[in-house]
Amino acid sequence: MQPSQTPRLELIGITKRFPGVLANDQVTFSVLAGEIHALLGENGAGKSTLVKMIYGVMQPDAGEIRWDGKRVVVTNPKAARKMGVGMVFQHFSLFEAMTVLENIALGMDASIPARDLEAKIVAVMRQYGLKLEPHRIVSTLSVGERQRIEIVRALLLNPSLLIMDEPTSVLTPQEVDQLFIVLRQLAAEGCSILYISHKLHEIKALCDTATILRGGKLVDTCDPRVETSRSMAEKMIGGSLKDIQRGASKGFGADKLVVQNLSVAKDGHFGIPLRNISFRVRAGEIFGIAGVAGNGQNALLLAMSGEVPCDDASVTVDGVKVGRMTAKQRRLAGVASVPEERNGHAAVPEFSLSDNAILTARDRLGMVTGGMINKRASVTYAGEVITAFAVKSTGPAALADSLSGGNLQKFIMGREIMQKPAVLVVSQPTWGVDAGAAGAIRQSLVDLAATGSAIVVISQDLDELLSLCDTLAVINEGRLSKPMPVADAKIEEIGLLMGGVHGEGAIHAA
């Protein structure tokens, strides 16, 4: 379709201020009809704030929004939907115990009889080739299928602008391809798409235009097809990217961490049980575990950290059985861990950084004598971590809460790495972390491995695993695939494993 002269959506000088930050500063750009427009930026660049104003969740402090050339004030999401804006959020709002149909019906502004709605849903799904069974219970669906519910929900309103917030962070490579087919079809029919992401190769493959934000300001609007991933990344971070520095490969040492037939019962009704997981990590090796979110990664991390006990022989470190040890004992045995959730799991938000250092470093670093805490030791250690990992903060007394996600993650990683653990298990080490900090964190993992520690990285970011790890396995529904050297790994095969399709080359340990 030929784009019309008046843009579908125009933002002119949009400014939004929060206490202490200018989230959006005079942002001006426009989206044409039928255009796939990327909104690109690091975490905290102001992408979400901008989109929330378009969708009516918040109001801009200054500037105006124009829709088909007319100035509008979007008072709430309902008004936005009425105007023709659909949005698919990064975090789904679905009821696990209800069916697909019920979930969609609950999200509709108008009440439509169930039978008519079902017919409409089926029609939309056929039109776009979205496979979904309306009577399935949501808890039985994969993340990709859940996202399709949200997309169908948005498409039922015949939107003329669809906003997608980080849609591919939870999808397998194959699911990403399917999603792109749907989005291209929508665009061809004249629907504009505002696509938020920080995955540059996707933007190059999909989008017509890219608007890049940094620190709330618009830095550039460019054509992603002529830019390189690197040039866009450097615009995003406003500096040049550093590559991971690896020392000369010295080969791996003896087995450090051995996991053998590890099974853990599921936690809660919708939890994922772990089934017969086996792998071994040698000294100096970085072992990656790929997989779509919600396939047992969390349970695996808890079983490694000792927060959930398992069979004594199922986990050994340097030949010592640690399966039944508590989190405290495992730390003393040399196992450190960093869970995915920073606030409230890896760190206590309302505690200072030095108190957060006490949380996991007190026993290994002798911060406790006779049941009393040596405050000075914790402040010194927190200070060392802050310096060594370039954590931007006001010092050891700063509340964890006051740090940005990336800085807190650097502190948490530093807190564990500087204890020189024999084994380090990390989940999503760079989740929601800006590119600069992510590079520093990955480098620190490589450096730790070089000193002879065994490292396990659990991540949904396949690119990260491929660039960081020596060996890779895929977790799906609580089962782990056969490990493969990264050098031999094929993206297609990994993708199939992530989706639960098991090729001949990857026979289950189960």
């Binding site: 004030v73 508590t326 505690f351 949380l359 406790v368 009393m372």
Partner: protein, 361 residues
């Protein structure tokens, strides 16, 4: 104009102190207004309840005697509240503690002195802790909510008290009143200010807050309590066991309530009758929150609360209002302190009302 709550970048220290003070002031103001409306001299009543006990030195010993048990119980409850373990049954633990002390005293017969007194107090702490241990067991074993179980056990404790003082431990020379025999002089706590009722227990109540303060701010135990209370998952990650924390919180809460009961019995009342439970265990919950779950705060809040107790009794004679009026004031204080709590983490902003020009509407 509309109001908007905004999260503060960090908790406000000013509000941390100002909120309890404001709660007391608001309670006084509302008291004046309400009493005036129902035809009682409000200013006089509020003066009597909140200020007269402070201004007249003869009342200080009463304030001290009332503050002591409140402070000691509140210290124990603050530990639990910090860890989000809600012990509502301190009243029962207080009663059982006193009964345990009485049991030791009776068993000791005519012998007394410091050894017997120490045994009585230890028994009081153990008794209270044991009573507090029941909800801990129910919670950790069967996931029974400790709010309900600890509260209900209070009523069980009152029945136990009624049975003991009306039966096995009834004073043979007591004209058949359900009460224990008064303690002999060698089994009572020494008076530390001659000519007053200020007993050794008051000194304990002044020293203990500082002990708790060091324990909570410097020890691994205090750290554990704080982590479990603010981020249970982080506590688990840091190697702190949730069940153990529940046990510790309930045992300490019960032990302190039992200590307060045994001190009140051996230092103040010298006998246990049906009037022994006077609501200290419930009022201490208010003290704990008014003191911001901080041991030193509990010391100050305990004194404030004791003032309202003594003042309530004085207002009975001066403006002829029932003694239970003090209870209303205490409840109002708790209400205000809980309501104003949000101001520590959030601030209120006045915003011009948004123009509601609907898009596409």
């Amino acid at each position: 104009m509309r109001l908007k709550l905004e999260k503060r970048p960090e908790p406000s220290l000013l509000m941390l102190v100002a909120a309890p003070v404001a709660s007391v002031l608001l309670t006084m103001i509302i008291g004046v207004v309400v009493f005036d409306l129902i035809g009682i001299k409000g200013a006089k009543a509020v003066m009597d309840i909140f200020l007269t006990p402070i201004l007249s030195p003869v009342k200080w010993q009463d304030v001290a005697a009332k503050a002591a048990p409140l402070i000691i119980i509140a210290l124990g409850l603050s530990v639990g509240n910090r860890a989000q373990v809600w012990n509502i049954g301190a009243e029962g633990q207080y009663v059982i503690g006193a009964l345990a002390a009485a049991g030791v005293g009776i068993a000791a017969g005519a012998s007394g002195g410091p050894d017997v007194l120490l045994l009585m107090i230890a028994a009081g702490m153990i008794g209270g802790a044991a009573w507090g241990g029941i909800p801990a067991l129910l919670r950790t074993r069967f996931n029974v909510n400790e709010i309900l179980s600890s509260l209900m056990l209070t009523y069980v404790a009152l029945q136990v008290l009624g049975f003991m003082v009306g039966g096995p431990w009834k004073d043979p020379n007591g004209r058949n009143f359900p009460a224990t025999a008064p303690l002999a002089d060698n089994q009572t706590l020494p008076i530390i200010v001659p000519g007053t009722t200020i007993h050794l227990g008051v000194a304990v109540a002044v020293i203990l807050p500082f002990v708790f303060w060091i324990l909570m701010s410097r020890s691994v135990f205090g750290f554990q309590i704080r982590v479990v209370g603010s981020a249970p998952n982080a506590a688990r990650h840091g190697g702190f066991d949730a069940g153990r924390t529940i046990w510790l919180a309930m045992l300490i809460g019960g032990g302190m309530a039992g200590l307060a009961g045994s001190l009140e019995f051996s230092g103040m009342l010298h006998k246990i009758d049906l009037g022994f439970p006077s609501g200290y265990g419930f009022t201490a919950i208010i003290v704990s929150f008014l003191g911001r779950l901080n041991p030193i705060g509990c010391l100050v809040a305990g004194i404030v609360m004791a003032v309202t107790y003594v003042g309530g009794q004085m207002a009975q004679t001066s403006v002829h209002i029932p003694n239970s009026t003090a209870g209303i004031f205490q409840a109002m204080m708790l209400f205000f302190i809980l309501a104003s709590d949000i101001l520590v983490r959030y601030r209120v902003r006045l915003l011009p009302s948004a123009k509601t020009v609907g898009a596409g509407e």
